[in-house]
Every structure is written in C-alpha cells, then in structure tokens.
Amino acid sequence: MKRYFITFIVITLVTFSWVRCTDFPVDEDGLLITTRGQCYVSNFELLGSDFQTVRTKAAVIDTTAQTINVEVFFGTDLKNVYPQFSLVTDAKLDPKIVGKVDFSDIANPKVYTVVSGNRMVKKPYTVYVTVQAKP
C-alpha cells in the first residue's frame, strides 16, 4: 500500500514539473515566452513631468524603417520625459523604461529594441524627437 502511494506521488510530481518546464517557459524577467514572432511598436507616447502629453501630434511609426518620429511642444523639458511604447502582444522592450528618460540629446537619438514573444526576433527602433520651432 505504502509503495503504491509513494509511486503515485512521484509520478504526479514528475508530471507537474514536466508540464511546467515545457508548456509555460518564462524569460529572465519572468515574462511568458510564447510562439509569437511578431515584433513591432504599435503606438508611442511621450509624457512630461506633469504626465500630460508633450506631443504636438501623433507620433509617426515606421515599422519597416524601424523609426519613430515625434514632434514635441516648444518648451518641452526633454531631460525629464516619460516615453510609453505600445508593443505587439507578448513582445517586450529593451532597455526597460523605469522612469524619466533624457531625450535632450537630439543629435544622438535613443534606440529601443523590441523583442518578439518567442524571443527570437529583435528589432531596434530609433526615436527621433523634434521640438516645435519658434517662428
């Protein structure tokens, strides 16, 4: 009886650990690795220190050229803005955005890499910021 019980427990544990290790893999950030290979930015937002948008119009996202062009209001403090990326399902961004970002070095635009859900495709997007010109 005892032998049957131990055998049952061992089989259960092995089954659980096998299922966990094969069907639900996670990456180093604890995010689910899926089968999706899509890799693009669907929307881009830039917020000021008051968490209001600093864009003058919608950002232009070119998924072929992998660029984002955004124009911001005159007087925007580009040293303290919060970028927000909307990505295709299951994709993630590298580097992560953890707070304010300094976009003031306009000559050297920032590059963010989108990593697909299956973590096999990586596409770097360059963010070009222009400030509304004073007439």
Partner: protein, 328 residues
C-alpha cells in the same frame, strides 16, 4: 465502538440544536445614568496656521438628573482670538439641513480655555468648537480637553489629540498680470510690479507672462528670471532680478485648501520634504487653470506649490494660491 460514535454524534447534534433554538427576548435598553460626552473632529487634511480645527462636542444626561450648566474646551496652546465654542446646538432636519438652537451665551475665551455657559434648560447638546490655529502652534502639536458640567455637580471630560500643526504657510488668491504684478516672491509670499520688484530683487523667484505666439503653445507661463530668454520674450528684467528657481509642472493636483474645490487632496509638510528637484527646469510654459507648479527657490530655503485657480486670456492674468514650506 460504533455505538459510542453514534452517541457522541447525537449528543453534538442535540447541543447544537439546543443552542441554535435559544431565543433572546428583546428588551428596551435601560438608560444609563449620569453625564456623558463624546467628541469628533470634523476637519480633514493638514492643520495649517490660520485655518481652523473644527470639533463637534456632544454631552447629555437623563432629564431627571438635571441639566447642563456649562461646556468648556481647554487647548494646550491658546487659539487665535477668533477661536470660539458655538453657543448653539445643531440638529439635522429631514432635509439634511443643520438647524441651530441657542442653548447658552456666546463663548468666552480666557487664556487657553473657551467656555459656554448654558442659559437654556437642556439635558443634551452638541456644540461645535472652532480652534483657529495660532502662529505659536506652527510646527508643534496641540491637544484639547473638552469638558461639561451638569447642575447635579457631575463633570465629564474628553481628550482629543495631539494634532500636528503644519510648518507650511498659505496665501490665497494672488492675482498676477502680464503687464503689472508679474514678479512673484516665494520668500515674501507676494507679487510685485517691475518697480517694487527692483527693490525686492533678491526675493524674486518667478516671472509671470502671457504670450500668444503663432505656431507654438506659450500662453500663461511662470519662468525663473535666470531662464533662457526664449522663455522670457519681450521681458526686460528689473535690475538685480536674476534668480533661478527649480520648477516641476504638475497637472490636476487640486489641493483642497488652495483650490477650494470638491477634491479631497491635501498637500502636507511631508510632500515638500519628499520632493526631488534634481534635474528640474527653471520654467513652465503653457499653463492652464487647475494646473500648478512645485518650486524650489534658488537658495533652497523654500519649497512651494503654486496652484492656478483661474486664468484670464483677455486680461492676461491669472489667480494663484501658494503653499510654502521652509526647508531651513
């Protein structure tokens, strides 16, 4: 063995059933004798000098035992002269309106004490106490002892507090205009025109301006005198006005003391202490009503929150209210 189990189960069921079926007869509560009291604090948010702390103090005794002859509040720090204890007891009618009934003579302040002597034969009353926070209480704590006396010689008392009194200052409804009073001093909590700004140059932290520039959104702006001329178009600064305050633009931080709107948001001393001005710019343009700015003066002596109550594009002016905290 089996019989024993059955007996135990039966006994348990019987006990549960018996307990569940026991009914308690309702009885009218007996009136507790003697003088009793209770108190609640009605004001919310930080306690700022000049504002009031409001309490509702209730006292009662059975009618047969006597009447209330006086009510008194003793504060650990004497309130400002306008401090008073209501001589009217309020009850709320069916429409939700507070209806007053005068129960005593107007309160008298004597040092730290405020007293109302009852003139009506009443055995129950709720009096409101308005403690106007005095300058002496700034940064300290204050507590209160409410007490009542009945005609049968009984007395009761109720302790409230201690309550911390904020260090910050407040100034409401300063009007700044583009061509006149456009210089703001956080140190003085005042606005100046160009002539008076020159005589108070060391204390000028911000310049207000309103500009309509085609192609860009500038409108209402609060800018440090030392900011880039791009943000001070058409401004000739008075001599000596050259400070660079740090500014964070804020949206929808409608402090209830400053905005006097329905939002239950209060800026307290702690908010000023926790602010981080690292990398903050020295200008804020395109400001709107109900927005605001956090400011740190160039010498780091003060931090302030300037709330924009109202803007007027035609008059090129805005109405601001300030909360200021001394950092040193």
């Amino acid at each position: 063995m089996q019989l024993k189990h059955y007996s135990l189960a039966l006994l348990t069921i019987l006990v549960v059933f018996f307990t569940a079926c026991q009914e308690e007869e309702y009885a009218l509560p007996t009136l507790e004798g003697g003088l009793h009291n209770d108190c609640i604090k009605r004001t919310l948010g930080p306690n700022v000098v000049g504002l009031n702390l409001e309490f509702a103090y209730a006292m009662a005794l059975p009618k047969a035992e006597g009447k209330i002859i006086s009510a008194q509040v003793e504060a650990s720090i004497a309130g400002a002269p306008a401090t008073y204890l209501e001589n009217r007891s309020f009850s709320t009618n069916g429409s939700g309106v507070d209806v007053p009934v005068t129960v005593g003579s107007p309160s008298v302040n004597s040092g730290t004490k405020t007293e109302v002597v009852f003139t009506k034969d009443t055995c129950a009353a709720t009096l409101r106490y308005f403690y106007i926070i005095p300058e002496e209480a700034r940064g300290k704590t204050v507590k209160f002892t409410f007490s009542a006396k009945a005609s049968n010689g009984q007395t009761v008392s109720y302790e409230m507090g201690p309550y911390s009194i904020a260090k910050m200052d407040m100034k409401l409804d300063l009007v700044v205009s583009d061509n006149n009073n456009s210089y703001i001093s956080i140190a003085d909590m005042a606005v100046y025109n160009a002539a008076t700004a020159a005589t108070n140059a060391a204390n000028i932290d911000l310049v207000y301006l309103y500009r309509v520039i085609t192609g860009i959104s500038f409108t209402h702006a609060l800018v440090s005198p030392a900011s880039s001329p791009d943000y001070l178009p058409g401004i000739t600064l008075p001599s000596g006005v050259n400070k660079s305050a740090k500014i964070w633009k804020v949206w929808a931080l409608r402090d209830q003391h400053l905005a006097r709107l329905q939002y239950g948001i209060f800026i307290d001393d702690l908010d000023f202490q926790e602010l981080d001005f690292t990398g903050a710019p020295n200008y804020a343009i395109n400001l709107r009503a109900e927005a605001g700015i956090w400011v740190e003066t160039a010498d780091g002596k003060y931090r302030a929150y300037i709330y924009i109550n109202k803007i007027d594009n035609t008059k090129k002016e805005m109405t601001i209210s300030i909360k200021r905290y001394p950092m040193q």
